[in-house]
Every structure is written in structure tokens, then in C-alpha cells.
């Protein structure tokens, strides 16, 4: 269906990524926000606090991030689209109820504007260090969806996409921004409402009595209902059966947890979103995401100018990870170069998928600033040497000049 015109600020704007994310939420139909201030994500909450009252949304600043996450789960069951935003320390606190959202299969969106960690780390400076936390941060096994925008325009677009995926697959979806993308101001074009596709809640057509809250459809996702409609559902964070009733058996656990994993894995082809360039004859493929994909641009352009055959993959859905794409490429590629503002997280996935068929070269950065493109250029050159044993220096974090 199309977006409701009420929340859509159609036109060309000059927005930072945080504000664009807030506008994306409004356009997607989000009408409940619970959050807790944390740099560098606070501007999302601030804009929503100002915008919501006019479009019939409820904004509440909670006492902490556990409460924020719990509140958006409750709100989703109340029938609205709901979101929160945070950064690393808050993301850690939300993990508890993100797990509940996974288990209860609650559609909602969490925007994480990443900063340098661990702990309080670098509150005002960039990091991409929560990528594995996004995948595995809450305890237990489950599938997850995380998107990584690389511009304010994408903060708008991908937030809508995150809401759509959350409704389609009934789980919390992460918008893994970073401080640079969140605080960078660029042109953002917000389309007409009828040009914005939004996925409505998949409400059960069955009447109370026939409806089973966790009986999955063919796509392994169950239909939902809203509290107060007479269904008198029960839902729990405990392992449960199709009725939603606790079922403390290995059999029930196996059935439920495998489905929670499979509903993402089996639908991954439909969920994947990435930008690929020049992969057909590439000797080296640069795999990047978020702000780093824009920094890598300079290095790739320089390498192309040198006549090198460099391909690119920009991950938009970082989770689920497109392992097949990497696996297929690995046979005909000398190396993957993976720059990211952490000491090597998504590179582990690339390495796993390449399975030794091509070299994998991490270009690490501990956070606080973006890469010097020279380090990425050097890694591309390094990659051209092919499947030889990696030189020691290639594995070392590269020193670079700070501004």
C-alpha cells in the first residue's frame, strides 16, 4: 500500500542523516516512539518529538533504553508502527528486549547511530563496531535483518525499508547508521506519498477462536493481531507452541528456534539488497558499507585510473549477509578488500564465504575517524598479488594520519 500523506514531507530538503531517518519513520507510518537521549542518535528523537504531535503520533522519552525497547514492543502489539533510536551503549541495553521482540515476533525498528566503543568510547565520533552485535547481540539463536545507509537520503529510504521488512517478517529491524552518516547534511528528496510503498501489518483474516498466534504461513511468518480486538492472545518470551503457550520441551524449542532462524534464511534472497559494480572481470572486489563505502570511493577511483580491475559490493542489508554472492565471486577473484571502522567484523563473514578461494584483506580502523583512502588503495594493490600467503603487514591495522 501507499504511504499515508499525513506524515510525508514531500519535497527537496537539506537534512542530516538523523533527521532524514526520523522523516523516513514518519513516512513509513511510524506513530509511536520511545527513546532515551544518546549521542549521536538524539536528533532522531528530537525531530520526532517535534513532528509527531501534528500527525497523531505519541512520543515518550523513557527512563532508559531497556524501557524504550520494551515500550515499542508494547506499542506494536497495541496496533501501531513503533521505533526507537540509540547508539552503542544503549544498543547493549536494548538487547534484552530485542530478544523479546524476536521471540514474540514484534515488528519494530531500532536505529543505531554507531559511535566508537567499547563502553562510553567516543560518543561524538564515528564507529562501525556494532555490526556483530547487531547479528548476535541478544542471547540465543535467531535470524535478524540490519540495513546500513550511506547518506542522509538513504537514512530516509532505508528507514522506510526497515519498517517494511519488520512488518513483512515480524521482527525488530536495525538501521545501522554511523555518526558520519547521521550527522552529515545533504540533499534529501522526499517523494510524493503515493510513490512510497509501505507494508501494512499482516493481520490475520481469521476470527478469534480460529486464530493461532504462532501458526506460521508458507513464508514461516505468522500473522498478527492487535490487542483489544477480542482475540485474547497470550504471548511470552518463553519457548512456546502455536497457541503462544509456554512449552518447555526440546521439541518445541527446536521447532520454534529453527523457524525464527529460517524465516530470515529462507527468505534471504528476497531480503538482500546490495549495490554491485564491475564484478564480472574484477581481480579485486572491495566490500564495504555505510560511510566507509563513500571513503572507499576515492581509493577505487584511483585504482580504476591506474587501469586495475576493481569491483565493488556495497552491502545495504548487512544482515542477512549475502554469502552466496561472495562464494560465487571468490572462484574468479584474487581478493576481497574489506574496509570498515572496526578491527574486523563483516570481514569475518566475507572470509567465511570466500572459504579460502580468494584472499580476504581487512582494512581496519579502531574508530574516531574514517579511513585514509590510501590505506584502502594499498590493500587493493595488495590484493592483486593474489592468493599468496598474506604478508604480515596486510594483517596489521594500518597507521594513518589523523586530521
Amino acid at each position: 500500500m501507499k504511504a499515508s500523506p499525513e506524515g510525508v514531507l514531500t519535497g527537496a530538503h537539506y537534512l542530516d542523516g538523523d533527521h532524514a531517518c526520523a522523516e523516513g519513520a514518519l513516512a513509513a507510518g511510524c506513530r509511536f516512539f520511545a527513546g532515551y537521549p544518546i549521542t549521536p542518535s538524539t536528533e532522531i528523537a528530537e525531530r520526532i518529538a517535534r513532528r509527531f504531535p501534528k500527525v497523531g503520533g505519541v512520543f515518550i522519552q523513557m527512563e532508559d533504553e531497556m524501557a524504550s525497547m520494551a515500550a515499542i514492543l508494547g506499542a506494536a502489539w497495541g496496533g501501531v508502527k513503533a521505533m526507537t533510536c540509540t547508539s552503542g551503549p544503549g544498543f547493549s541495553l536494548m538487547m534484552e528486549n530485542i530478544g523479546l521482540g524476536i521471540m514474540m515476533e514484534v515488528p519494530c525498528v531500532v536505529a543505531n547511530v554507531q559511535r566508537g566503543g567499547p563502553s562510553t568510547g567516543l560518543p561524538t565520533m564515528v564507529g562501525q563496531q556494532d555490526m556483530m552485535q547487531a547479528r548476535w547481540g541478544s542471547h540465543g539463536d535467531y535470524g535478524i535483518i540490519a540495513l546500513s545507509p550511506n547518506s542522509p537520503q538513504e537514512c530516509f529510504d532505508r528507514t522506510i525499508q526497515a519498517f517494511n521488512l519488520s512488518e513483512q517478517y515480524r521482527l525488530p529491524v536495525f538501521v545501522m547508521m554511523d555518526e558520519c552518516v547521521g550527522h552529515m547534511t545533504e540533499k534529501v528528496v522526499i517523494p510524493e506519498p503515493d510513490a512510497i510503498e509501505v507494508v501494512p501489518r499482516r493481520l490475520s483474516p481469521l476470527p478469534p477462536g480460529e486464530y493461532l498466534p504462532y501458526a506460521a504461513n508458507g513464508d514461516k511468518v505468522p500473522d498478527m493481531v492487535t490487542a483489544g480486538e477480542g482475540y485474547r492472545i497470550h504471548t511470552t518470551g518463553l519457548t512456546h507452541d502455536e497457541r503462544g503457550y509456554p512449552d518447555m520441551t526440546a521439541e518445541a524449542q527446536d521447532k520454534l528456534v529453527r523457524r525464527l532462524r529460517a524465516k530470515i534464511d529462507d527468505n534471504a534472497e528476497k531480503i538482500y539488497d546490495h549495490e554491485c559494480k564491475r564484478l564480472d572481470d574484477a581481480d579485486v572486489v572491495v566490500v564495504s558499507y555505510g560511510i566507509t563505502s563513500r571513503v572507499a570511493r576515492a581509493a577505487i577511483d584511483a585504482a580504476l585510473d591506474d587501469g586495475l580491475r576493481v569491483g565493488e559490493i556495497r552491502l545495504i542489508t548487512v544482515w542477512p549477509f549475502p554469502a552466496e554472492l561472495i562464494r560465487d565471486l571468490a572462484a574468479n577473484t584474487k581478493a576481497f578488500v574489506v574496509p570498515e571502522i572496526n578491527l574486523g567484523q563483516m570481514v569475518l563473514e566475507v572470509e567465511r564465504a570466500a572459504a579460502g578461494a580468494a584472499r580476504t584483506i581487512p582494512v581496519t580502523h579502531a574508530g574516531g575517524w574514517v579511513h585514509d583512502p590510501q590505506t584502502i588503495y594499498d590493500a587493493i594493490r595488495e590484493g592483486l598479488r593474489g592468493n599468496a600467503a598474506p604478508r604480515k603487514s596486510a594483517r596489521k591495522p594500518r597507521k594513518e594520519k589523523q586530521p
Binding site: 515518550i60 497495541g78 530478544g99 518470551g237
Partner: protein
């Protein structure tokens, strides 16, 4: 069924006699397909469930519009047995979950039923903030003086001197006085009863349910398996007798004076009942009307609109 028993029921063709309604009066409120429940014989939680169901009955609530949210622990299992929209959430978080549920769907009456450890220790911050905001929730806290689900550890309400598995030589931490905590945080209704005082408790829950704002009822309840046994307080029946002999009804008592000491008097009654304090949503609406006038969007039925679905609207229309 054995053949002998089948035969005893007579031939299948016999005209069935009018059978008397043998359903338990609480059945409409309970998920009978989930029984037997997990609670121990002599536990006070079931009594609170019965009083809650009785209050719903007396108040003639539209049961489709009442939701129960629980946290984790023995009392956290209440949500699993009540036949309403019921949510069994994470440890300590039923109040913020309930806050989101209520704020997104104003027509719901949202009730939190959970234990002392869940609501006051791990969830203590949420408790005081929901009371401060005066969110329209009823919170029923079943206080059995220990973490029972995990085997009987000291809790935020355990009296000084009481034995638990983690205070094997007697508790030496000062416990919270729950009514004082609720009242000082802004609750508009604060009462305490024991699981012996079923009639008064039922009436109190009904009062709390019908009063707008953050309403709080503490229920002192025996945990015979862990707390009362370890502290040699006798059988559950003896504990209930001690509630009878040892409790004093003092309506309007200053909440700061109703601390519970080990073996001491339990002051019960309705301590706080404030009129006229605006709820969170009333305050929100008033502030936005003041600031934005006609532009304030909550007058619109945002809840249906945002879900954006014809199906939902139709279903609601049928309901109304």
C-alpha cells in the same frame, strides 16, 4: 476409557439429561487449557488471580479491552493463566511494555501483575517513573518477600533478619516500603492487603482499575515452599492466621509509617486515593492543545490510521 466405564455411562443413544452448569465461576477469566498451573500448594498468587478476576466481574469490564502484562518470576506467570490479551515479558520490564501498549491504544485498560523482585528491584526504575508520569496503569505487586522462581533469594522487600538462600545468616539490608515508594513517586492510589483479605483486596483492585492514573496495590502473600518454610513461619494456613492476627487495617495511614519488619505488624488498607491529578495522556493532550491548537493530531484516530489497514478498521467497527 475402559469398556466397563463406557458401559456405566449407559447406551450412547440415551437422551442426554440436562446437565447442570458445573463450570467454575472463574472459568471465563482463565485459560482452562493451561491448567494445572505451576504454583505450589499454599501459594498466595492464585488467590490474587481470583480476586483480580472477581474485580473484573464486579466491574463488568469489557474483557476484550483489558490487557494483562507480567514480568518474570512466579507472579510473572499470572499473564499466562488469565484469558485476556496477556503478555509475559522480560524480567523487570512489564511496566514500560504496558506503557507502550496503553499509549498506543487508549481504549485498552492495561494491568500489570508481577512480583516484588520483578517490579521493585530489576524493574524499580520503571516503577517510579511510571508513577511519576501518572501513566494510566494498574499495578498489582504480589509481595512474597523473596525470589521464589529461582529458589528463594533475598529480594527488595525481604524484611531484615529473614533467612533466604542468599542471606543464610539473616537479611541485613533495609527493604523497600512499597506503598511509601509508590506514593512518593506519584501514584494516585496506593493500597496494601494480604492474600487473606480477599473481599477487601477484590474491592481495592476494582477501585484501582476504575481510577484513572497510576494505581498500585501491594498484596502480601505466602511463599510456603521457600520463604515461610525457611523462616519457620509454619504452614500456609498458619501464615494466613498470622495475617489475620498480625495485620492492622489503617486506611489513610501515612505510607512512610507502614514498613514491614520480620514478625512485626502488617499495616494494611488504602493509604492514598488522590483525585484530580491528570494522567500522562491527559497532560500530553492538554499541553499539545495549548501549544498546537487544531494542529494537534491525536484527536484523529491515529491508531487505526497508522496501522493503515482497512481490515483493522472493519474489525473495530464490528466490535463497536
Amino acid at each position: 476409557m475402559s469398556d466397563a466405564r463406557k458401559n456405566a455411562q449407559g447406551p450412547a443413544t440415551a437422551e442426554p439429561e440436562a446437565t447442570p452448569d458445573v463450570r467454575h465461576p472463574m472459568e471465563p477469566f482463565l485459560r482452562m487449557d493451561r491448567f494445572p498451573h505451576i504454583w505450589c500448594p499454599g501459594c498466595g498468587i492464585g488467590t490474587v488471580v481470583t480476586c483480580f478476576a472477581d474485580a473484573l466481574k464486579k466491574g463488568a469490564f469489557d474483557l476484550d479491552r483489558v490487557a494483562v502484562v507480567s514480568g518474570i518470576g512466579c507472579s510473572g506467570r499470572v499473564a499466562g493463566y488469565i484469558k485476556l490479551d496477556s503478555f509475559h515479558t522480560t524480567h523487570g520490564r512489564p511496566i514500560p511494555f504496558a506503557t507502550g501498549l496503553h499509549l498506543s491504544n487508549r481504549r485498552l485498560k492495561v494491568v500489570v501483575i508481577s512480583g516484588d523482585g520483578d517490579l521493585i528491584a530489576i524493574g524499580g526504575n520503571h516503577f517510579i517513573h511510571a508513577a511519576r508520569r501518572n501513566v494510566d496503569l494498574t499495578v498489582i505487586c504480589i509481595n512474597n518477600f523473596n525470589y521464589a522462581m529461582t529458589g528463594g533469594q533475598v529480594g527488595p522487600g525481604t524484611p531484615v533478619l529473614a533467612i533466604s538462600t542468599t542471606t543464610p545468616f539473616g537479611n541485613f539490608e533495609h527493604p523497600f516500603n512499597l506503598p511509601a515508594l509508590a506514593a512518593s513517586s506519584g501514584a494516585v492510589y496506593v493500597a496494601r492487603w494480604t492474600s487473606l483479605h480477599v473481599r477487601r483486596l477484590t474491592n481495592s483492585i476494582l477501585e484501582a482499575l476504575t481510577k484513572p492514573g497510576f494505581t498500585f496495590v501491594e498484596v502480601i502473600a505466602p511463599c510456603p515452599t521457600l520463604y515461610t518454610r525457611r523462616n519457620k513461619l509454619g504452614t500456609s494456613l498458619e501464615v494466613l492466621e498470622s495475617y489475620r492476627d498480625n495485620s492492622e487495617i489503617r486506611h489513610g495511614a501515612d505510607p512512610s509509617t507502614v514498613d514491614i519488619s520480620f514478625g512485626g505488624k502488617i499495616v494494611i488498607g488504602k493509604f492514598v486515593d488522590i483525585e484530580g491529578k491528570p494522567t500522562f495522556l491527559e497532560s500530553l493532550d492538554a499541553a499539545m492543545h495549548r501549544a498546537l491548537g487544531k494542529d494537534y493530531g491525536l484527536g484523529k484516530d491515529y491508531y487505526m490510521r497508522s496501522a493503515g489497514q482497512r481490515a483493522l478498521v472493519d474489525r473495530e467497527a464490528r466490535h463497536d
